[in-house]
């Protein structure tokens, strides 16, 4: 089945991370090849006829052919059989996707505008991050606090709407280590396209170590806890902390306590309240030279302790 492997390499789907993803790919590759053959027959036939029977004289005569029952039966029946075969194959894999394994590791997911919140049974929480052990059945129990979201991991070929007021579920069994994207595929408002999370597949030992470390977060000093939150929320992708390099947003290194000029010319001293306001509603006062409406608002997504931790961390960047 060399052509199958060749076709799979060309299918341009993301790397397969589960057994089910491999099954989906096989079916997809079959469909691609079948589609190519069907197109070659129909479009090839069209191009051949169009060229061969192009108009030669102004008064060409054409034969009167109204129908051909045998032919018409064949080209209705053969596609039907193929379609039903594809249907059954798709059903088989879909059934595997939907049959929830028993004794799976259960993780609760809450979709909210615009982040994925993860909660483990031990009480460990994470935002836009799922850490899961390899070769283990994992079941996600999902709900939403506001509008409908849809949880999608392209590498696992799984997707499920996350609906407010009820639970929906998904399961996977990762067979490859690595980091995979989590997208939201149901339009959920302004930052729909920013609702991206990471699914990290690690070994069983690493998973346990991670859980252990995360459960200690509550006991860390405030500033260190702030540093963790700063990482989890991916603040560092826009704000530099180790030097004054300018990224998408203003650098935070040695910024606390200084006076900054805002877009409207106003001069504002960076104190605890300014940090708080800039996290909760970032567009209230934007530093001169930086774009509006880029940073998402974290109103309602951070607890008071988490906010204080962030403030302490930013204060300490001297």
């Amino acid at each position: 089945m060399m052509w199958m492997n060749l076709a799979r390499a060309q299918s341009l789907m993301p790397a397969e991370g589960t057994q089910i993803a491999t099954q989906v790919n096989n079916l997809y590759v079959f469909l691609l090849v079948a589609s190519l053959i069907a197109s070659a027959i129909i479009i090839g036939g069209m191009i051949f006829f169009v060229w061969k029977y192009r108009r030669k004289t102004a008064n060409d005569k054409t034969p009167y052919m109204s129908h051909n029952t045998t032919l018409e039966f064949l080209w209705s029946f053969i596609p039907l059989v193929i379609f039903l075969g594809v249907f059954a194959w798709g059903w088989y894999i879909y059934h595997n996707m939907r049959a929830m394994p028993k004794d799976a590791l259960e993780i609760h997911i809450v979709g909210k505008q615009w982040a994925w919140e993860t909660q483990y049974k031990s009480g460990v929480k994470a935002s836009n991050l799922i850490v899961a052990p390899i070769n283990t059945d994992v079941k996600l129990i999902m709900t939403s606090t506001d509008v409908i979201h849809s949880f999608f991991v392209p590498s696992f070929r799984i997707k499920q709407d996350v609906v407010p007021g009820r639970y929906t579920a998904l399961w996977f069994r990762a067979n490859k280590l690595g980091e995979y994207h989590i997208f939201c595929t149901e339009f959920c408002g302004t930052q729909h396209s920013g609702m991206i999370g990471t699914l990290r597949v690690v070994s069983q030992q690493e998973y346990e170590a991670w859980l252990e470390e995360e459960s200690k977060v509550g006991l860390l000093p405030l500033a260190q806890r702030g540093e963790k939150i700063f990482q989890v929320k991916a603040c560092a992708s826009c704000h530099s902390t180790a030097d004054a390099a300018v990224k998408v947003g203003p650098p935070l290194f040695k910024a606390f306590g200084k006076t900054h000029e805002m877009a409207n010319g106003e001069k504002v001293a960076m104190d605890e309240n300014y940090i708080r306001e800039s996290i909760m509603s970032p567009n209230a006062k934007v530093v001169k030279g930086f774009p509006q409406n880029v940073m998402p608002a974290f109103q309602g997504q951070l607890s008071e302790t988490e906010l204080s931790a962030l403030v302490e961390y930013i204060k300490g960047l001297q």
Partner: protein, 528 residues
Amino acid sequence: MANHDSNLNYINEFKGIKSWLFSLDHKRIGILYMISVMFFFLLGGIAALGIRLELFSVGPTLMTADTYNQFMTYHGAIMVFMVIVPGIPAILGNFFLPLHIGAKDVAFPRLNLLSWYMLMLGAAMAIATLFIHRLDTGWTFYTPYSIKTSGSTALMVVAVFIMGMSSVLTGLNFIATVHKLRCEGMTMYRIPLFVWALYSTAILQVLATPVLAITLLLLAMERILGVGIFDPALGGDPVLFQHFFWFYSHPAVYIMILPAMGVVSELITTFSRKTIFGYTAIAYSSLGIAAVSFFVWGHHMYVSGQSETAGIVFSFLTMLVGVPTAIKMFNWVSTLYRGSISFQSPMLFALGFLFLFMIGGVTGIMLATLAIDVHFHDTYFVVAHFHYVMVGGTLMALMGGFYYWIPKMFGKMYNEGLARLTFVLIFIGFNVTFFPQFILGAMGMPRRYFDYIPAYESLNRISTVGSWLIGAGFLISLYVIIDCLVRGKKAPENPWGSKTLEWTVASPPPHHNFHHDPVVSAGPYEYR
């Protein structure tokens, strides 16, 4: 009796703007639709170009996320409710349905004019939302987002409700016309296939649109009175909205594509100068598609949380729709066999339709397959698929139909060279724009995305460049039409050698269509 002055036609017999705005003549109403739909298409097209420009590179390119979401919403809503749904039936259907069956008008001319005014009223309300609170729900208005957003959902859905009424009235008018106004000898098996397609479409319009109407009314009530039917916070079920919405909107997909299939049947037989192969099969497959389309709405909801059994049933029924569609493809290609094929611009669009619809069709089968759809659902693969069907299918057929019938509608010939150029630009531009989107979808890029991860950038760039080619193609098409109206040479009665009834009257047709009631004694495609 009226005098038979051969210089009098439906355009010059009455004069003044009022004679157009209050005309009951189906031909003039068709022209009114043509002008308004072209305007809406321009609006929707600008939104489309804006979307593509924003997606040209990673990060905010020229607008904010909110503005992008509004562009995406208005592009969808305008193109679906104001361009493609009324497109072929209301423009070409209005103009040619009575001529095709040898009638002097549609059954209810006043209702026909009323439905144009309703479309205008609905469109005006929809455009008014732009100036009140711009909407950002997407054209699907999914609850509960549409309940919570600050956009003026209520006004927009009432606007769509009114446009839906317009569509219902057109549909019932066409059904009554086909049933009751066929001329002597015009049996149901002698009506052109375009009429069969319009008839199937009309049945869908009449049976499916009322369900959309009630859904939208309930959504408007949700916004105004907070009745709670779709709001989970009040005990309602947001997913029920999706069931109701797709119960209309899936048949609506066929409201959009069936008339296009009808146009293509006409074009292929005319420009092959050969009778259509399998007339009965094509006619019945239109009805078959219409019938099955009521029972497949759940294939939009495989991952919505509906039961596995529901998914299986809907997937199975969706596969069945593939069969009549395949039948049509085979019949069209067989019609070409041993024909005398000319490459006039309408035929180029018809062949382009076959090519693009083939791709739209096979990707449709992929999306109908349960396990595959779970991956592709709400990704760019879906976006590419429905553009291949709606644009590559319906719009190509609409353009082909325009070029085919312009000589009859206005009595003038257009510039054939430029018309072919528009085909080349639109066809190539279309594939450059939308083919990369299949790959983006397979890679996992979700739809309605203002921004994306860097891995998707190069394909998005190609797609954006393609959209400029399409834009150029349509601008030149507009020039071709204006140039034809201003400078076009006089068109003969039957420039293509077609066999259907509209080509037996003068170009443009007289006010009453036929000076003598026609009598028909054979089928519509007697090329012998």
